[in-house]
Amino acid sequence: MSSSINTYARDIGIEFDVTDIRRHFPILNRTVRGNQLVYLDNAATTQKPNQVIEALTNYYTENNANVHRGIHALAEEATQAYEKARVKISEFIGSKKSSQIVFTRGATESINLIAYSWALNNLSPGDRIVLTEMEHHANLVPWLKVAKDTGAELKYIPVLPNGLLDLDSIHKIITPQTKLVSLVHVSNVLGTINQIEEITRIAHENGAVVLVDGAQAVPHMSVDVNALDVDFYAFSSHKMIGPTGIGVLYGKSHLLEEMEPFNFGGEMIREVRYDHASWADVPHKFEAGTPNIAGAVGLHAAVDFLQSIGMKNIHAYESELVRYAMERLEAIEWIKVLGPDRSIQRGGMTSFIIDGIHPHDIATFLDSLGIAVRAGHHCAQPLHRKLGIPSTTRASFYLYNTKTEIDALIDGLEQTRRFFLS
C-alpha cells in the first residue's frame, strides 16, 4: 500500500507519509467482523493517536487536581496545563488573545452559549436571524428556540443545485434588520466550503454579528478567525483527533465581555453574597463548575500532532483523497454523489445515494466488511427534505485514510449492489 500512497503524496507536491501517520493510531489496527477496519466516518468523530491517549493518561497519572483554586503543587500544574491548552488553541486558530477562547463541551454547546447568552438578550421582534439551508441541527435547532422566544424571524440562504450557497440572494436576505448571521464553514453533508470572509463582510456592512460553525473546518484546514473577521467561531475537539466532551467557542473580546454568563456556579464568579454575585472576567465567567481539564490537555496534544504534520499538508492530502473518491464514485453510473462536483474544492467527505438500496442497508453491508460509513440524514433533516432525499450514505476522510481504503469502499459498494439488486 505504501508505494502508491507515497507516489501520489509526491504528486501533490508535499511530503506526506500516511503509513507513518497510521502507526500513531492504534485503533486502525483492529479488525471488525473479521476484516481490517476501514474507518470512513470521520465527519462523525475521528480516531485518536497515542500522543492524545498518553496525554490523558499522563494528566491523570501525574497532574490531576482542580484548576484555579488550589494552593498546592498539583493544582498549580493542572491550572497551567489547562491554561496552556487555551493559549495553544488561541494561536492555532489565529485569535489574538487567549481570553477569547472559551472551553465548552463541544460545538453544539458553543452555539447554545451564543443562543442563550447573546441572542436571547439582544434580539427582539422585527430582528432577523440568517442561517443557511445546509445547517447541521446544532446550528438550526437553537435558533428555532431563540426565534420563538424573542419574536425574531429566521431566514435561510438557499443552497443551489450545485451544492453552493446562492450568494446572489445574500443582499436580499442579509438586511439592516439582520442582527445575527450564523452559518456552517464546511457542510457535513455536501462538503461545500462556504465563503466565510465574503459573507462576514456583507453581514458586518449590515451591522450583524457573525457566528460560524467550524466543526468540519478546523480539523481539516488552516482557519484564521482574525483574518475571517468572524465574531464567534465554534468547533469540537473530537472531530480533530482530540478527546470527546470538550470544544471551543472563540469570541471577540468586546462581545464576550458584554454577554451574560451561560451557566452559573463555582469558577465563574468574582464575589458572591447571599443576595447577589458578580462575575469573573472572560473567559472564566463562561466556564462554571470544574471544567474538562483532561479534555483540554488532550486537545492540546491533538493540536500539537496536527501541527507537526501541518494543516496545509493535511488539507492538500485530504483534497487529493476526496478528489480520488469522487473520481471513482462518479465513474459508477448507479451512484449519485451529492454536493459540489470535482471542479470545486470541497471538504473531505462524499455523500451519495444508490437507487433501490437504502443507506441503512448499504452501511450494514459495508459494516459486515469492516468498513465504517454513516447512513442517515447526518443531523441535517431540512437539507435532505429540500433535496428530496430521505437519507444518504456518507464516507468522510481524515489524514490517516488511504486510497487503498477508498478502493475497499468502492469494492464494498459493488458487492452491496450485487447482494441487494441481483
Binding site: G34, H360, T364, S368, A375, H377, P390, Q415, F419, F420
Partner: protein, 149 residues
C-alpha cells in the same frame, strides 16, 4: 461477510422488501399514525379500520430500509382480523424477541417474524425492525386514550 448478511437479509425479508404487503388505502380509518426513526429518517404511515375491537383492515406505507419495510409488511399480514389485545401481545413478543429478552417467539401464529432475528447482530438496526410495531402500539394507545375521554 456473506453468511452474516444472508442471515440478516433472508430471502423472505428481501421478498417482503421488494413487494411489501399492506400498501393499501384504507377508506374512513378509525386509527391513523405516522412513525419516524429520527436516526435515519425512516418513515411509516398506518391507517386502521376497526370492527369492534378487531382490526378489519390495515394499510401501511413504509419509506425506509429493507428491514423496516419488511417488518412493516410482515406486520400487515399478521394483524388483520386480530383483536387489539392480541396485537398488543404480539407486539410485546416481537420487541422482547428482537431485543434479546426472550430467545424464542411463542409458537402461535407469528408468521414470518422469526426471520427478523438477523438484526440482533446489528443492535442499531433493531430500531428499524421495531419501527412499524412501535408505531402500531403508539397508535392503539392514542386511540384507547381518546376513547376513554
Amino acid at each position: 461477510m456473506t453468511n452474516i448478511m444472508n442471515e440478516m437479509y433472508r430471502d423472505i425479508i428481501m421478498e417482503h422488501y421488494r413487494d411489501p404487503r399492506g400498501r393499501k388505502h384504507v377508506t374512513s380509518p378509525d386509527i391513523t399514525n405516522e412513525g419516524h426513526n429520527p436516526l435515519c429518517g425512516d418513515e411509516v404511515e398506518l391507517a386502521i379500520s376497526l370492527d369492534g375491537d378487531r382490526i378489519n383492515e390495515l394499510g401501511i406505507h413504509c419509506v425506509g430500509c429493507a428491514i423496516s419495510t419488511a417488518s412493516g409488511s410482515i406486520l400487515s399480514e399478521l394483524v388483520e382480523g386480530k383483536t387489539i389485545d392480541e396485537i398488543k401481545r404480539i407486539a410485546e413478543h416481537v420487541k422482547a424477541y428482537l431485543t434479546g429478552e426472550i430467545d424464542e417467539l411463542p409458537d402461535d401464529d407469528m408468521g414470518d417474524l422469526e426471520v427478523l432475528q438477523g438484526v440482533k447482530q446489528f443492535p442499531v438496526r433493531i430500531k428499524c425492525a421495531l419501527l412499524a410495531w412501535t408505531t402500531l402500539i403508539e397508535s392503539i394507545e392514542h386511540w384507547e386514550h381518546d376513547k376513554k375521554k
